[in-house]
């Protein structure tokens, strides 16, 4: 398919499962944050810092961003392979699509690393 697709992701069912699994994590993170805000409406900046400083919370946040990027990567990969094809835009499509997927991968990786840096520098 292309060199950027991990071996694990050559299976359609793995990709499908992973995307949904990632969505569940992102969703639960959002629900968790909303609950926190509801339970502690008077939370100020120092409370917020303390919450995010906690080790489990750091892992949870990191996992969420990782999931978000995996989810987005799979989704965008689908979009690219649907629309950026030789059939639709001609022979240059393969080159452009690979470029897009590379860019997508780098962007996702960059965000994951950046978030990691932020979380562990709180």
């Amino acid at each position: 398919m292309n060199g950027l697709t991990l071996f694990f992701l050559r299976s359609g069912s793995n990709k499908w499962l992973l995307q949904r699994f990632a969505a569940v994590i992102v969703l639960s993170y959002i629900v968790f944050l909303i609950c926190v805000l509801i339970i502690r409406p008077e939370m100020d900046y120092s409370d917020w810092v303390n919450l995010n400083k906690a080790i489990p919370m750091r892992f949870f946040s990191f996992l969420t961003v990782l999931s978000l990027s995996v989810h987005a990567w799979i989704g965008m990969w689908c979009v690219f392979t649907d629309y950026i094809t030789v059939r639709l835009i001609g022979p240059k499509a393969d080159f452009i699509r690979k470029g897009c997927i590379l860019l997508l991968t780098l962007t996702a990786a960059f965000y994951v690393l950046w978030v990691f840096k932020i979380l562990w520098s709180i």
Binding site: S11, G12, S13, K15, C78, D82, T85, L88
Partner: protein, 234 residues
């Protein structure tokens, strides 16, 4: 009087396809679209379309009728005429050979890819293989497919990836064999479908369900296949 606007293209004489309007007197009858085409062909024998059984079981005359894929022989004018006009085009997404006749090779290739025949390596009994009524009932809604291609050519995913995505018709048939209690090759069949395109390119748009002239539900069959694949993966 209605206006029948038909997609015309003869590769030997036309550089580009064009729409040709015919005036047609229905004499107050609710004819089938195929009857209209037959009568127009008397006027203009160069008009080309496929047809055979004229009762909706052979699947020859799939075409795009006023924007919706269907069989001309079982689509009455009353369903297709709007503002006294009916627009007839070939099924979308596949190459046009001439007028309303499309090249269905890609469609058939996907059908062949799913190995649409029963595999059972155990020695056959002297009589038939037994199958309970419940097991047989699982094939209802699957085996009736007539390969008219109305569904696959209404599917955006099939338009985008006709070489890689099997398409609703092929997948309906894939499930017909997966669901058959007499077939023993489910594992092999599934392993051949478990790439990110063959099955998983179905985005649940459900155009296939909306247009199927036999009232079949390919999306549901695809869902069953997906579940089988996921059960296999976990």
């Amino acid at each position: 009087m209605i206006t029948v606007s038909i997609y015309r293209f003869n590769p030997e004489t036309d550089e580009h396809p064009h729409m040709q309007d015919f005036e047609f007197d229905t004499v107050g009858k609710d004819l089938m679209v195929l009857d209209v085409l037959e009568k127009l062909k008397v006027e203009d024998p160069s008009l080309v379309f496929r047809r055979s059984c004229r009762e909706g079981v052979c699947g020859s005359d799939g075409m795009n009728i006023s924007g919706k894929n269907g069989l001309a022989c079982i689509t009455p004018l009353s369903e297709a005429v709007r503002n006294n006009k009916i627009i007839i085009r070939p099924l979308p997404g596949l190459p046009v050979i001439r007028d309303l006749v499309i090249d269905m090779q890609q469609f058939y290739a996907q059908y062949e890819k799913i190995e649409p025949y029963m595999v059972n390596d155990s020695p056959a009994p002297q009589i038939e293989r037994l199958q309970s009524q419940e097991e047989r009932a699982k094939l209802d809604g699957l085996y009736e497919c007539i390969l008219c291609a109305c569904c696959s050519t209404a599917c955006p995913s099939f338009w985008w990836n006709p070489e890689k995505f099997i398409g609703p018709s092929g997948l309906l048939q894939a499930y017909r064999f997966l669901a058959d209690s007499r077939d023993t090759s489910a594992e092999e069949r599934l392993s051949k479908l478990n790439d990110p395109f063959s099955v998983f390119r179905c985005h649940g748009i459900m155009n296939c369900v909306q247009v199927c002239p036999k009232g079949l539900n390919p999306t549901r069959a695809i869902g069953h296949i997906r579940n089988m694949l996921i059960r296999g993966a976990t």
